[in-house]
Amino acid sequence: MKIVVCVKHVPDAQGDRRFTDDHTVDREGVDGLLSELDEYAVEEALTIAEARSASGEDSTVTVLCMGPEGATDAVRKALQMGADAGVHVCDDALAGSDALATSKVLAAALRTLEFDLVLTGMASTDGLMSVVPAMLAQRLGLPQVTLAGKVELDGTTVRIERDGDSATEVIEAPLPALVSVTDQINDPRYPSFKGIMAAKKKPVNTLSLADLGLSPDDVGLSAAWSVVEAVAARPPRQAGQRITDEGDGGTRLVEFLAGAKIV
């Protein structure tokens, strides 16, 4: 079983996140890390590969990442968790790429790799658009099996469970397929010190746009189908409403909660 996991390097949500003059995310000013939602995809890939390797089937996990030079940190973290190899698509022309361009580049990179299963997170923790998995499946002509809370495989099919508010859908697709997983699916492992040492010896293949046969005109900010016109910080939260209890405090509290449709 050959599994490819698509991962993204994102600004640390704990840090002070900013935008540059062209309204793209400032990736210089804040520490980056492997998107937390992608850790679930990496964990699921490792769990599947370990189980299949244990039953005698040669299995590998490759992580694929598009991003600037610093994005190798995300690849390395996945390798430290236990993935076997990394592919990093890195090119100055990629700066400002939208979801369409990102899916085009990732699809081109996936075409250079062998796989039975492509795993992704449910969204990135910075962009949060959740559309790249669907776009990727469309571009590659793969079954699109998204938002899995549970993944089961036999040799030729993948079956997932997708939990909704009132029902759980069970979806089955033939392999190869693309599956995105939610943050409910597993408990991602920490890398171990052994994993940190082992990752140093694992191969990471860096590819440029030219390596993938893509033109700089297809990607980047200038090729984006949507443009961010302005960015504004969320206004600070307004002071709350103060109720002085004049014997009717309880009633007024309930009125407030009812007004907010909480009770």
């Binding site: 430290q80 920490y190 890398p191 171990s192 010190f193 052994k194 940190i196 040492m197 140093k200």
Partner: protein, 382 residues
């Protein structure tokens, strides 16, 4: 606030990142509740062992990380920033395993170290006795050789970190009345018949870390319990002392850093006279002195650690680090309570706990009066 660290390798940088991630997710959320409930987090040690964080200074052939002291100690400091009891436990556990690592036979190393390093076996270190804390040569708990059948041990060891919780005890016992070669080192498994744990001490702080007296009542130790040679105990204990002092220094610096971080965050948020209190110079200078104390203490223990890594003598520098770092922790945590004002004196905020935790660090692992004695003796010798 993340501490800026100068680290020798990429793997050390990733190791610190891993420690921060694990400590934020697994230690920080439960430290307040566990300290208050006096609950020892045994499973945290299993987790740290599984990740390879309990064996950093040991060689790779026994499952260790082969890391220099300067890296290992900064990992301890990062743990202490979230939970001093856990960081102290790591330092004590490391100390207990060091005796086996450096003085054990090939068989003892192969049989015991992988489980110690992996966190399956939790260690304790028993040197002090009720009447012999600062003067280990005065200890009286004894082990008598029984020809062909090992040893029989009697007596009590005091102030044992992990007492009653550990899986094994690295113990120093008198084997003869010889002044220089009268003490030997033993590996004593917790299930040894005749080994009894007293009730945990009712302490001022570090309550998640249990401290107890361990009593030997005709305890039967196997012939393979001896670590090193008969009579080699004091040199073994003294060799560990310096690295133990650096471990405590790192714990104290982590604790002080945590108090500083809490105080700065509070002083930026809390307003008085129309501005954040950090903009009042009287308080700002207090915070500046706290920062200076934390950073100079860190530099001091790292200097001693780097001497140790270079194979140079560092006994005096270890004592300087222990003295400076623990006194700094006491002062910084006390001042952190001052920054919080009345709120700092309540248990709604963590700084009063940090202040209580700091006090013992001036006392254990050689009181700070003993550290001054060590430093002065080095000066006198020239």
């Amino acid at each position: 606030m993340s501490v800026q660290r100068e680290l020798p390798t990429d793997e050390a940088r990733d190791l610190i990142a891993l420690t921060r991630e694990v400590a934020d997710a697994e230690l920080a959320p439960r430290v307040n509740a566990d300290e208050r409930a006096e609950r020892f987090p045994r499973e945290v040690f299993s987790l740290l062992g599984g990740l390879g964080l309990l064996g950093l200074p040991f060689a790779e052939d026994v499952g260790g990380g082969g890391q220099p002291a300067a890296v290992y100690l900064q990992v301890v400091e990062e743990l202490a920033m979230r939970w001093a009891s856990v960081a102290l436990g790591v330092s004590v556990h490391t100390l207990s395993a060091t005796a086996i690592d450096r003085f054990g036979t090939g068989d003892q190393r192969a049989r015991l170290l992988p489980a110690m390093v992996g966190g399956q076996l939790l260690g304790a270190y028993c040197l002090s006795e009720a009447h012999a804390g600062s003067d280990p040569s005065a200890l009286i708990a004894r082990a008598e050789a029984r020809p062909g059948s090992g040893w029989v041990a009697d007596g009590s060891k005091a102030w044992v970190t992990h007492g009653g919780l550990a899986d094994y005890y690295t113990m120093f016992l008198r084997t003869s009345d010889d002044a220089r070669r009268g003490i030997s080192c033993f590996h004593v498994p917790a299930d040894t018949p005749g080994l009894l744990a007293g009730a945990p001490e009712d302490k001022m702080g570090m309550n998640a870390s249990h401290t107890a007296t361990m009593t030997l009542d005709g305890a039967r130790l196997g012939a393979d319990a001896l670590v090193g040679e008969v009579g080699q105990g004091l040199p073994i204990a003294l060799a560990a002392l310096d690295s133990g002092r650096l471990g405590v220094s790192a714990v104290a610096v982590g604790l002080a850093q945590s108090a500083l971080d809490h105080a700065v965050a509070y002083a930026r948020e809390r307003h008085s006279f129309g501005k954040p209190i950090i903009e009042h110079q009287g308080l700002a200078f207090l915070l500046a002195d706290m920062a200076a104390a934390v950073e100079s203490a860190r530099a001091t223990y790292l200097h001693a650690a780097r001497l140790s890594d270079a194979g140079r003598p560092y006994s005096r520098q270890a004592s300087v680090a222990k003295l400076l770092a623990t006194d700094a922790a006491m002062r910084v945590t006390t001042d952190a309570v001052q920054v919080f004002g009345g709120a700092g004196y309540t248990r709604d905020f963590p700084v009063e706990r940090l202040m209580r935790e700091a006090k013992v660090m001036q006392i254990f692992e050689g009181s700070n009066q003993i550290q001054r004695l060590v430093i002065a003796r080095h000066l006198a010798r020239g």
